[in-house]
């Protein structure tokens, strides 16, 4: 399910860490809409959320080191989720905020949701699909044991695919009612204009990947990836894809 939300900003300046700010907007929308759902999503430790989003700034826009100048004062948030219920909740939560100004946390700006649209998804009919990365892909290796440190990989690293597939296997362990690890192993990424970029998020600089790529593999996996996004930190505004 794909939801397009048009949002207006109060002023032109947005912090470079805008994902975090927008997340706070979504969180407060959830909190107002359904306390139970909010608790389940954000107050039960690091629970995986079934949606991802990306933000597209409408021209004209200047991206600086510390801030973004959004001359159009408009941006579009794309949400995608494989879970229809989550989509409904998202729409309901944002619907309650339509045409009302809400301040953006810790900065001199405010947001107003203008319109919400349910966008038709493209059907995947073959075993290959050409994806465009809407928001950067984060591949993270979390060291749980000793140092509790995160390692991030971009397409240039040889571990990129290994770690991604390992994480995907863990994610899909109980999703399809059967073991899909062999199908995951078969997945093949063919890069088209992939490149590395570094994103500042919660004061951490995360190296990630943007561009286009072709994914080859079982159709249901392609569909899942199309709807759920790819990589880690998805509910934070990373890993959102679209089919070209």
């Amino acid at each position: 399910m794909r939801i397009k939300v048009d949002i207006e900003t109060g002023s032109m300046e947005l912090p470079i860490d805008y994902r975090r700010k927008f997340l706070s907007y979504i969180k407060s929308a959830f909190e107002d809409y359904n306390q139970e759902l909010y608790t389940e999503l954000y107050e039960m430790g690091s629970s995986p959320k079934s949606f991802c989003f990306s933000i597209y700034f409408l021209p004209e826009v200047e991206i600086g080191k510390e801030e973004i100048i959004l001359r159009s004062k408009r941006f579009t948030a794309w949400f995608t989720t494989p879970d229809i219920l989550m989509g409904v909740h998202l729409i309901n939560a944002l619907m309650a905020r339509r045409n009302k100004w809400f301040p953006l946390a810790d900065c001199d700006n405010k947001l107003r949701t203008l319109s919400i649209n349910n966008v038709q998804e493209r059907p995947i009919t073959a075993n290959t699909a050409l994806f465009r990365i809407l928001s950067p892909i984060v591949i993270r290796d979390h060291d749980n044991k000793e140092m509790k440190k995160d390692w991030y990989y971009t397409y240039e690293d040889s571990e990129f695919e290994i770690i991604w597939k390992r994480n995907l296997k863990a994610e899909l362990k109980n999703k399809f009612g059967r073991d899909v690890s062999s199908d995951i192993n078969e997945l093949q990424i063919k890069p088209i204009k992939l490149r590395k970029t570094v994103v500042r998020n919660y004061d951490i600089y995360i190296p990630c990947t943007i561009g286009n790529f072709i994914l080859e593999g079982e159709r249901y996996l392609l569909e899942y990836i199309y709807k759920a996004g790819i990589g880690s930190r998805r509910s934070l505004g990373f890993g959102c894809l679209d089919i070209v």
Binding site: I84, L85, G87, N92, N118
Partner: protein, 563 residues
């Protein structure tokens, strides 16, 4: 040692129904119950059996016979003549014309013609038929009033003819033969066919003597015969029989032609033959089953014969009582007997009893399991509201009450029925004689059925009520946007999604609807997602709210406001 008395013991349903039919015909006072499932009677009870046989059908089904329709006009005739046609108006004339057409149709039908030959009377009924013509109806009451004296004269002439026809039919012979003919082609042929008076090539024209010679005389002759040398046995009662001539193929939907289909029996040697007495009892089958029009019902209570007689008579009296012209659902009588039991100490007396229905020329069987009875008892209010609910599908009239009970008996849920109802309402509301509250009641009963089958926790009325409200409020929003023309298309898509329980498709459509009217999706919808039956219930209730009153007055007002 076998006494001279004849003993009948309960067996399979068809035999039981025949035994009960036999008891009905000879009267309970002429048999004695010796065990719970056994009765005995003296062979004398078979004296004049053919008269008792037809008398039972004529008396029991009197009001449904075409004969009754003819003679029942006598009262009206008398009233008009008594007050000198003062109250005779255009409506009465129209009624009279309909009656005349019916009478003409009846008295020239073949079964009536056959009966005339048996009635000892000089009157030629067929000659009346030619003289009996309808009276020209004036365009309106004013015209009628102007020409009244002329019309009344015409009517009087018709009444003279009709009086003769009625006298002919109402005579004891007329009742005896025409009534019997009616009973044969309306009632008896539902149970058996092809032999005796129902054999199209029968040589005996008198149906009474035909029945007597084919069934009664052979039975009494068999009773008196010396059976020592008989080497075969009756398939039902195991009595020795002479030959294999009697089989069960005369019963509808039973038996087979042993001469042509020998492969139905082991080693191609037919052993399914019955003794003449059992054949006589089987000929009483139509008296055991209760018929309305072409459908029949029999409750196969097998433990106590007395109970079986009592319960079937109760249903019979209910069916026949409610049959004053209007077609009432056959199940209604059964269900009201079930409801009656609720007050008894034996609350579920009929639990695990077999119900046999005769529909579309075949027998259908159900067991009244206790959970079903509980559903029926618990949803009395909803069921009662559905008694007169009908809709037409592919030119066939469907009674919702019968459908609901039928499905409960078959352990089916009602989703497909609800789907049909809503679909019918969408495509042609003029053929649907129900409104949203009826759909709601079906949904509530369905919810009850689903909860009996397990897996449902939600309060059944709450979910239906809330979902319907959600549908209605969305509908109002569409009306406010003047987009009500979109609703039908939306409902079709929603119904398609519900039919395949495709939640994604359903949500896709509803989401777009709510986005279109800029509102939130109600909690009742999101709550029901992913919960199987609850989702379907919610969906159908939602759609019913969305369609409800599509051409109701409230919407017309709104339309007027919008224009």
């Amino acid at each position: 040692m076998k006494s001279d008395k004849i003993r009948l013991t309960l067996g399979d349903w068809q035999w039981n129904a025949s035994v009960i039919g036999f008891i009905n015909i000879v009267g309970e006072e002429n048999v004695c119950h010796i065990e719970a499932d056994t009765v005995e009677f003296w062979p004398e009870a078979l004296d004049g059996f053919e008269n008792k046989y037809f008398a039972y059908f004529i008396n029991t089904y009197e009001k449904t016979l075409s004969w009754y329709k003819i003679v029942n006009f006598q009262d009206r005739l008398n009233t008009y003549e008594e007050n000198n046609f003062e109250e005779f108006d255009l409506k009465a004339l129209e009624f009279l014309n309909v009656y005349i057409k019916d009478v003409k149709r009846y008295i020239k039908s073949n079964s009536y013609k056959a009966a005339y030959e048996l009635i000892d009377s000089e009157v030629e009924l067929l000659s009346f038929e030619k003289q009996l013509i309808t009276i020209k109806e004036p365009k309106n009451q004013q015209r009628f009033d102007v020409d009244k004296s002329e019309i009344v004269n015409e009517v009087k002439r018709r009444f003279l003819l009709l009086q003769q026809i009625i006298n002919y039919c109402a005579s004891s012979e007329g009742r005896r033969y025409i009534g019997a003919k009616n009973a044969i082609y309306n009632i008896i042929n539902n149970a058996w066919n092809g032999v005796s008076f129902l054999n199209s090539q029968t040589k005996e024209k008198n149906i009474y003597s035909d029945y007597k010679s084919y069934f009664v005389d052979t039975a009494t002759g068999y009773l008196q015969s010396e059976k020592g040398k008989y080497k075969y046995n009756c398939f039902v009662c195991d009595a020795p029989i002479k030959d294999m001539s009697n089989d069960l193929s005369f019963l509808n939907a039973t038996g087979f032609d042993v001469a042509r289909k020998s492969s139905h029996v082991w080693n191609f040697q037919n052993d399914i033959t019955i003794c003449p007495l059992c054949k006589l009892i089987y000929s009483c089958l139509p008296a055991g089953i209760i018929y309305t029009y072409n459908r029949g019902i029999y409750i196969n209570q097998t433990i106590k014969l007395k109970d079986a007689v009592r319960i079937n008579n109760k249903i019979k009296s209910r069916i026949l009582r409610s049959q004053d012209g209007s077609m009432r659902p056959i199940y209604h009588a059964l269900v009201s007997v079930l409801h009656e039991q609720e007050n008894d100490s034996a609350k579920y007396e009929l639990a695990d009893v077999q119900v046999v229905r005769y529909e579309n020329e075949s027998y259908r069987f159900n067991i009244l399991a206790k959970p079903m009875l509980q559903i029926i008892v618990n949803s009395k209010k909803e069921l009662d509201s559905l008694i007169r609910v009908n809709f037409i599908e592919n030119g066939r009239n469907i009674n919702v009450y019968d459908e609901v009970i039928g499905r409960i008996f078959n352990n089916q849920n009602l989703f497909t029925l609800i789907h049909k109802m809503l679909y019918g309402k969408l495509s042609d509301a003029s053929k649907c004689y129900f409104n949203g509250s009826h759909v709601r009641n079906v949904l509530i009963i369905n919810q009850l059925i689903c909860s009996r089958l397990g897996g449902m926790k939600m309060d059944n009325t709450y979910l239906v009520k809330k979902s319907r409200e959600a549908g209605e409020s969305l509908r109002n929003k569409y009306f406010n946007k003047d987009s009500n023309h979109k609703l039908a298309g939306i409902c079709y898509r929603l119904l398609n999604a519900l039919k395949t329980t495709n939640e994604n498709m359903f949500m896709d459509v509803t989401l777009n609807c709510y986005l279109y009217v800029n509102s939130q999706v109600p909690k009742v919808i999101t709550d029901a997602l992913g919960r199987g039956k609850d989702f379907s219930t919610m969906g159908y209730a939602f759609v019913s709210g969305l369609i409800d009153g599509q051409d109701g007055s409230g919407n017309k007002e709104k339309k007027a406001e919008g224009e």
